[in-house]
Symmetry: C2
């Protein structure tokens, strides 16, 4: 009757293998987050549109999935009032009349909303993590989905650089646990502001950062030309030149920038922050390579201090983790002056890196250890208590539900990746035995039906 | 500026404590599901409306949350064509013109869709579990939410009663692990069909079941009267009377029903199924109380064999878990003849039972074990490597980010439920010591800063 069913474009099903792999990532990051005292929260998939609109720019507003009001949202709406002369509708306005709710677009705005709404129940600094899907009506393309998970970890309510340090420690520990070699790049928005100030073009922060970012690709002279073409004066470019030539350790870079930024209070404050953070990093025994990268401009419009980005060293892909400090996240919801710092782990990209580098644990699937073949009703009665005993000892065990041909039962174990098969027929019953075959080596072992300890050893 | 933000009615935020509690439930059921070889899958929150519509009855269609098509969904729509003379709009039809997608309403239909769509990648019997939120535009009321989690576990592709047994075993193990005493009620749709057949009113299955259900409340005579009032003949009621008087063990009930259902092939088949299942239950050493309850009518319209329901014994609440066998779940999507059986754990109700019976683990929150007070920059540098060492040994440890007044740091530990506090000032630094206070007993211990093993012992 029906044609083969499908799912909306840009969305994905996660089968057993994919789900087990993704859970491996979620469990790894959660465990690290918890070891630093971050608590998990969850917010509803639907937020009021008034919470979401205007928070992600005009482009973001367009990418919100809106939920039609339930019941009859249409009666009483004057559709003609939303129609212009060319027959087109004012889609944003009409959408607002029909929809009060939208799907969350990220985890940051719901977090800010949560903090303001529950401020009296929370103890600050509030350290939370959140692992939930978000939805964006982006044009689907390779690697870009309309539903995807974010894993965010944030501390709000303290301006201490120890919060930044914790995020560095978390990045270090997470990727060590995942077995991925990474580089952590750090920048500071105040330093960028300072650079723009000292060269006399305080409104050109973005242009300057974008130009610095091209240094590796186009070289020093071309970068200087680009700055001039953006309206900077030759004197300004000369002031910035030492910054383009920065080399050495973080301490050396900071020291050299102190000269350049000497006249900018904001810039020096940024350098103080960087210096304090790198001091903490060395005290804490971080092994992760961490470098200052002035071209890091990620989220420049809302970060106010540290900016972070993590790159995989052995796999070609964009940043797999990033974040920064924002001084007034909750102001939009009426609670000003709450400084916070957070990072977001890109689950989809980390998934791709682990897959590409073959770093997923081999036994990461949720396959059972042992399949008991089904040889008929009497044999099943014999097997059931043994299976129950193994399970009570923490071993995943399956009993094939039908007494089908052995070939079919074999295939089932094979396709599911179950490593051991037990075939117990009449003769095993009579002798009170359990026979277990290792499907990869072909080796067979025989146990008394009460020798659970020995079986567990063989199955491990 | 803004008024205090809020979330859509019928939805909830889950703070640290609630999330930790819910995770405890999810982790407990998942572990049991996996020990029986069930694999987790996840499907998208959004499904095509064509997948969802018509699967939950007219009432269900109305309760679907629909997602407005992105971009401009309005231009080109002739709104007047959906308007009737009284000025009202045909909401279902117009919704369909504006919305191609909806939020999933349960996990069963997406599972059926998944099985059909991925049939060539799956090995059957396919045993899956799924723990995801669902959304319904129900009128919110106490205990009824518009967003709530379902935990479904199903096996599809086998008609063996061993699949039913597994669900019984899973129920037994889950509630044993959660520490909740429950009763499992089992019925069989074929038996109900048989009863309606043998009394000559095959179309009155529902009326008969509803009447039986009232036996405890209104007594035998009133039930018989109700049956008559629903159009059953006095002879029919007489035929059914032995069923109303059923007592004893499952075996006794089945034996007595064999007489009543002797002329119904379907009824006898149902009894065979029950008998086989109860045979397996006794072989498998199930300790859970399981009883046959002919009044169990849950989901009568789609179950075709076993019907399950779980009641908490020590807490007044509706059923906390239920399910059954459906012979043709995937037929609606073009794959006929796939028999499956599944149950769904009601996470919200189980949460309420655990809370009411105080069965949540005391240390179930995600609080850290130890807070290091922040006594200033030098002390922080001294603490950082110790904190890192403890974390690397699996202990959750926090360092307060600001060198605030000790009272404030104390309060933070107290409000977060952190049981140990370490205050290391100048004198500890000089002597190379770490001082740890048990906040509930007030007891204080002192350690050399390298005595990590001793510290871990004290913190456990």
């Amino acid at each position: 009757m029906a044609s083969k069913p499908s799912i909306p474009k840009g969305t994905r099903d996660f089968g057993p293998v994919e789900t087990a792999r993704r859970n491996y990532i979620f469990n790894t990051v959660s465990e690290v987050f918890r070891s630093f005292g971050y608590s998990q929260i969850e917010t509803p998939a639907m937020e009021n549109l008034s919470t979401l609109l205007g928070k992600y720019g005009d482009e973001g507003d367009k990418l919100l999935f809106r939920i039609l009001n339930s019941g009859d949202p249409f009666t009483g709406v004057d559709f003609d009032a939303y129609k212009s002369e060319d027959g087109r509708f004012n889609a944003p306005a009409l959408s607002k009349a029909l929809c009060d709710k939208g799907l969350r677009y990220d985890l940051t705005v719901p977090f800010a909303r949560f903090v303001v709404q529950h401020q009296n129940e929370l103890s600050f600094p509030f350290k939370r993590y959140q692992i939930q899907p978000v939805w964006r009506a982006d044009r689907p393309q390779k690697g870009r989905y309309r539903e995807f998970y974010q894993c965010d970890v944030d501390a709000i309510g303290s301006r201490s650089q120890l919060c930044e340090l914790e995020l560095v420690q978390i990045v270090d520990q997470v990727f060590r646990n995942l077995g991925i070699r990474v580089l952590l790049k750090i920048n500071n928005r105040k330093v960028l502001t300072g650079l723009a100030e000292v060269c006399g073009f305080p409104d050109k922060v973005v242009d300057i950062t974008v130009a610095i970012d091209k240094l590796d690709k186009i070289g020093l002279d071309a970068v200087k030309e680009e700055m001039l073409s953006k309206g900077l004066s030759p004197e300004a470019v000369q002031i910035l030149e030492p910054v383009l030539l920065l080399e050495g350790s973080a301490a050396e870079k900071i020291a050299r920038m102190r000269d350049v930024l000497a006249s900018s209070e904001t810039g020096l404050k940024g350098l103080d922050e960087l210096e304090e953070l790198f001091g903490f990093i060395s005290s804490a025994g971080i092994t992760l390579p961490v470098e200052i990268d002035l071209s890091l401009a990620r989220g420049l419009n809302y970060y106010t201090g540290a900016i972070f980005e993590v790159k995989a060293l052995d796999f070609q892909i964009g940043s797999i983790c990033g974040g920064g400090r924002y001084d007034d996240l909750t102001g939009i919801f009426g609670l000003p002056g709450m400084s916070g710092v957070g990072i977001s782990f890109g689950a989809d990209r980390i998934y791709d890196v682990l897959l590409g580098l073959e770093k997923f644990p081999v036994n990461g699937s949720s396959a059972s250890r042992l399949l008991f073949a089904n040889m008929g009703a009497r044999e099943v009665g014999y097997i059931l208590p043994v299976a129950a005993m193994l399970r009570s000892r923490g071993i995943s065990v399956e009993l094939y539900p039908d007494s089908s041909k052995l070939k079919k039962q074999f295939d089932y174990a094979d396709r599911k990746g179950i490593p051991f098969l037990s075939i117990c027929g009449e003769s095993e019953l009579e002798q009170g035995l359990i026979r277990i075959k290792n499907l990869s080596s072909g080796e067979e072992s025989v146990f008394g039906k009460d020798e659970i300890d020995r079986m567990i050893e063989a199955l491990s």
